[in-house]
Amino acid sequence: MTQEFIHAYVDGELDLARSLEVEQHMKECRGCATAYRNQTALRSAFKNSSLYHSAPAKLEKRIRSSLRREAKSEVSGRSFGWRWLPVGALAFLPLMALVVWQAVPGLRSSGDELLAQEMVSNHVRSLQLESHRTDVISSDQHTVKPWFDGKLDFAPPVKDFSSQGFPLLGGRLEYLNNRAVAALIYQRQKHYINLYIWPAEQSNATAEVATKRQGYNLLHWTNSGMTYWAVSDLNGVELHEFARLVQEAQ
């Protein structure tokens, strides 16, 4: 028996049979009995120490007002409401549903939907401050690639496309989709492209999927065991051109 079970016992996570086993064991094993005493002492130390940080009163106010702003902008963002629809138009709803379905392919699962939102906010934030844009500034792929070494549990492919009009500006680490990911920054004239890379869950390659969020174009695909998301305010055609370059470079 390992001491982990003593912890699970103190935490009330064991079923009855296991609990009895632990109790029996503690009668015979002095080390585990001591560990048990230590755990209960630690628990009461926590209880008596009031280590809980309650939220400051003004924080609730601040959050309430930022939520109200957000709720308003969501409504005005969807000014194309259903209210104006005459009843007769309801007949066209199935058709409209089909159009919407095709307009946002690939985002049928709510997971991708969340991810797309996360990508766009991350992209926007990365551009707000120059210091957020890159952790390593270099147009040299041989500088950027080793920089990720030891910071990620995978090696992202890094290529510069200066000669094709998409110079590499640098890279940075991000935390997205519950994991650390590589972000590469490219430029196309006055537009920036964030290319996010992390190991794919499935090994099979998937074709490019395009979508639009808050005026930004997103493209994602899976290739050679990596998942790619490209986000930019660049037009769809040129972003697709960029995605082609990335895919062909592998």
């Binding site: 390992t2 001491q3 982990e4 912890h7 699970a8 935490d11 996570e13 002095r30 080390g31 585990c32 001591t34 560990a35 005493r37 230590n38 755990q39 002492a41 630690l42 628990r43 009461s44 130390a45 926590f46 008596n48 120490s49 009031s50 280590l51 809980y52 940080h53 309650s54 939220a55 400051p56 924080l59 609730e60 601040r62 959050i63 309430r64 930022s66 939520l67 109200r68 957000e70 709720a71 308003k72 969501e74 409504v75 969807r78 709510s110 939907e113 969340l114 939102q117 996360e118 906010s121 991350n122 957020h132 952790d135 030891g150 910071k151 549990d153 680490l173 991000e174 935390y175 519950n178």
Partner: protein, 177 residues
């Protein structure tokens, strides 16, 4: 769900967990101003994703978002903590505790305990805070921290072990000084 009605049901379901959200962010960022920013951003994210929430465990759902937002914050601020990968495979040597440690723990005051928890690696700190301060079950902790159940159990055991070591070294210094 549109505008006002979405806002109203969000406020009912998620706003009551503000203390838990702040507590977690505060322990992860170890700083009041940053914790407030993280919590505000987490609430905005939660509001945007509220459509995907189906009324299960509102607290665990929110804390998962707070945790992710805190990690993004640490990443952005290049917190050195995130570069220390925790190895969940290796077991620490099972040194059997000495009895006096229980005594030591009873003597440890709130200030010492707070300091010791802040010194823990972030992966240990988060499971300990969720367990001891939020009194979450292993299953809830697994959901918040996105970990397998077995890892929650072993991390908690290691976190407590480490905490005792830190407390022991603190008391020794105090006796000497």
């Amino acid at each position: 769900m549109e505008g006002q009605s979405k806002l109203a049901s969000f406020e009912t379901a998620v706003l009551p967990h503000l203390d838990a959200a702040y507590n977690l962010a505060r322990w992860l960022t170890r700083n009041d101003a940053d914790a407030q920013d993280v919590v505000q951003e987490a609430y905005l994210r939660a509001f945007r994703f509220f459509g995907g929430f189906h009324g299960e465990d509102g607290r665990a759902w929110l804390l998962g978002i707070v945790r992710n937002t805190s990690y993004t914050w640490m990443q952005r601020n290049r917190s050195p903590e995130l570069n220390m990968a925790l190895d969940d495979e290796t077991q620490e040597a099972e040194s059997h505790d000495l009895d006096p440690e229980a005594l030591l723990l009873q003597k440890a005051d709130a200030q010492m305990l707070r300091q010791a928890v802040e010194e823990l690696p972030v992966e240990f700190r988060e499971v300990l805070v969720l367990r001891e301060l939020d009194e979450m079950s292993y299953k809830q902790i697994a959901a918040v921290a996105d970990l397998p159940l077995g890892t929650v159990m072993s991390r908690l055991a290691r976190a407590r072990k480490r905490l005792q070591q830190i407390l022991a070294s603190q008391t020794q210094t105090e006796v000497l000084s």
